[in-house]
């Protein structure tokens, strides 16, 4: 996925001179995950900017750059540290379009690594997608494979909105996938079917996609597996269509359960398809408190067995 994102950035930077990258250690160091590796050599220090250690300034200045006619792509080194720019994102980025009645849109894509499973230090494994989705006004995207990562990022760089682009750290190098060399877009706001089936619907995204896929494969059951890809605004149509068809829905995410993405999706399904369900909607997620230190990670992050147990339960109803 690292290569796919790097490639999307390179193609778009060639196409659009107004794109500039900024962030901590993204230039000479190539980013701590090497996502921007080589781009400073290709585009120079003018377009790949190593910034001082200041997240609020990185995001706030990106808003200013967008207002001045640029298309900034700030990288925040880890999602945990993006909270230092929370005010800029929620107080400003989320509202600029609406409060200027679309006369001052903000074309910017904020990239940041998310999620656990790699035994990282404290604050390096957070899943904040619900935080950014809750307020509205920010588009939140989270790919689970290289193909989608490239296409979604290219699409994001062609739009005129503030977009939070979440990159699951565990998936950066988890598997290789052949992807087209050229530009292509993956629609933002559209989920994808990873599998089609009859017995139940499993909705997931990001880090838990490979987990769910593996469980479904091993259990050899017929299920709709939906990769959300865009968290906000999410693809309600696809979800309702599948829920009505199978009548059983499981939502799986790595972020904690309480007030999470699963809560929003199940509420929508309950509101619009309740009587077509044959079992209560179920959720598999991390427990309702912040990510523990890496030694406890395995006790916290949802794994295959937890997903598998939930599927058994749902199918037994």
């Amino acid at each position: 996925m690292v290569g796919a994102i790097n490639n999307a950035l390179e193609l778009c930077m060639k196409e659009d001179e107004k794109i500039i990258l900024l962030g901590e250690d993204i230039g000479k160091d190539g980013g701590v995950f090497r996502v921007t590796d080589g781009l400073i050599e290709k585009f120079g220090e003018k377009r790949v900017v190593d910034t001082p250690l200041a997240e609020s300034a990185i995001i706030g200045a990106s808003i200013g750059m967008a207002l001045s006619g640029l298309r900034p792509v700030p990288e925040v080194q880890f999602a945990g540290f993006m909270l230092l720019s929370f005010s800029q994102l929620l107080n400003h980025a989320a509202r600029y379009r609406s409060r200027t009645r679309s006369t001052m849109p903000l074309p910017m894509v904020v990239r940041t690594p998310v999620g656990g499973g790699v035994k990282a230090l404290e604050h390096h494994s957070d899943n904040p997608e619900a935080l950014y989705s809750h307020i509205g006004g920010l588009i939140v995207v989270e790919p689970s494979n290289p193909y989608d990562a490239k296409g979604l990022l290219i699409k994001a760089l062609h739009m005129n909105d503030p977009i939070i682009f979440l990159e699951p750290t565990k998936l950066y190098r988890l598997f290789k996938q052949e992807i087209p060399d050229e530009m292509y877009e993956v629609d933002i706001g559209k989920a994808s079917y990873l599998k089609k089936g009859e017995q139940l619907t499993v909705i997931t995204y990001g880090n838990t996609v490979p987990i769910v896929s593996s469980v479904i494969e091993k259990k050899n059951i017929s299920a709709d597996v939906i990769d959300l890809r865009t968290i906000n605004p999410f693809d309600e149509k696809t979800i309702l269509e599948s829920a009505k068809k199978t009548g059983k829905v499981l939502i799986v995410h790595e972020a904690s359960l309480n007030f999470g993405v699963g809560a929003e999706i199940s509420a929508r399904i309950a509101e619009k398809a309740m009587f077509e369900l044959s079992a209560p909607i179920m959720r598999v997620a991390a427990p309702s408190f912040p990510v523990p230190y890496p030694g406890y990670e395995n006790y916290y992050i949802p794994n295959e067995k937890k997903v598998s147990d939930a599927i058994d339960k749902l199918l037994s109803v």
């Binding site: 901590e24 250690d25 230039g27 000479k28 160091d29 190539g30 701590v32 190593d50 001082p52 250690l53 200041a54 997240e55 609020s56 300034a57 945990g80 540290f81 909270l83 230092l84 035994k119 990282a120 230090l121 404290e122 604050h123 390096h124 359960l257 309480n258 427990p287 309702s288 408190f289 523990p292 230190y293 890496p294 030694g295 406890y296 990670e297 395995n298 006790y299 916290y300 949802p302 794994n303 067995k305 937890k306 147990d309």
Partner: protein
Amino acid sequence: MQKQVFEGYVEYLQIMDEDGNIDEKLMPAELSDEKIIDMYKYMLFARNLDAKTLSLQRQGRVYTFAPLLGEEATQIGVAFAMKKDDILVPSFRQHGIFLARGLPLASHFIYWKGYEEGNITLKGINSTPFAVPVSTQMPHAAGIAFGQKYQGKNASVVAYIGDGGTSEGDFYESINFAGVYKLSLVTIIENNQWAISMPRSGQTAAQTLAQKAVAAGIDCIQVDGNDVIAVYKAASDAIKSRNPALIECVTYRLGMHTTSDDPTKYRTDEEVKKWEQKDPIKRVKAYLEKKNLWNDKLESDEIQSQMDRINKAVEEAESFKPDPVSMFKNVYSFMPEIISEEMESAVGANFWL
């Protein structure tokens, strides 16, 4: 018209030079030879602890680790200046000062093995836990100092921050806050010249980091951070003054940022070699040897006893039994139903392991 508001200089302090020569005029009277030997031993201890932790990381026995190699004086000098009841607010690289303040060594290893239980003994050495989000500990330090003053208590607060950390808003907001309420907050900038791949020059156009105190209206000084005597002197003067102060310790990160980092990507060997000449431990050793206070035998005995303590602590840490239920039990002051349900289902399923 001009209004003079401050004088434009920053004091710079070095007492012991790179060869171990002392500037007698500046030498604090209370620093006996025994004290200097103790300082030396602790710097050595910090380096040995650091090296051991790094090697455990390379063997997969601790997770990502942030070494302090080269920065021993900036931590041990301050440890000797602090009183027992003074309060420490570290960033994330200060296991040297933890050690000198008496942290049980097993806690250090339990922390770096990725267990919150490594933080339990911090209360006993009057320290807050490491703060990984850079600079976010700074407002806590100001608040602790405020609380001390409010309650008529005498402890001073000593906070650590890196050179990179001084670019964050929290840093400015905190020294400003301390200035407004005249808090007994001493902020140590552990300027090791690098913030991952960003050199000090990329953080600010200001000539020194110490001068950032000027705008906050508080005291400042820049010291040779590889000179444990100068660090000690600056920190004890600041603590005794009971006023907010900013101390920039000019030192160098000889190792990697963390074990995930590859410094050859962004800095030269020559630069590292140049700083190796300024090693904080070497110069104290030279000083002690010149005065016949130290020799190879003492050194090897000392290292032996340090390694014994370190190895024992590693054993203790490796026999630590993680208690995943503690994750659920320490979320709130009470047990809400939703957490208890989650706990029961996790325990019932043996955490799905």
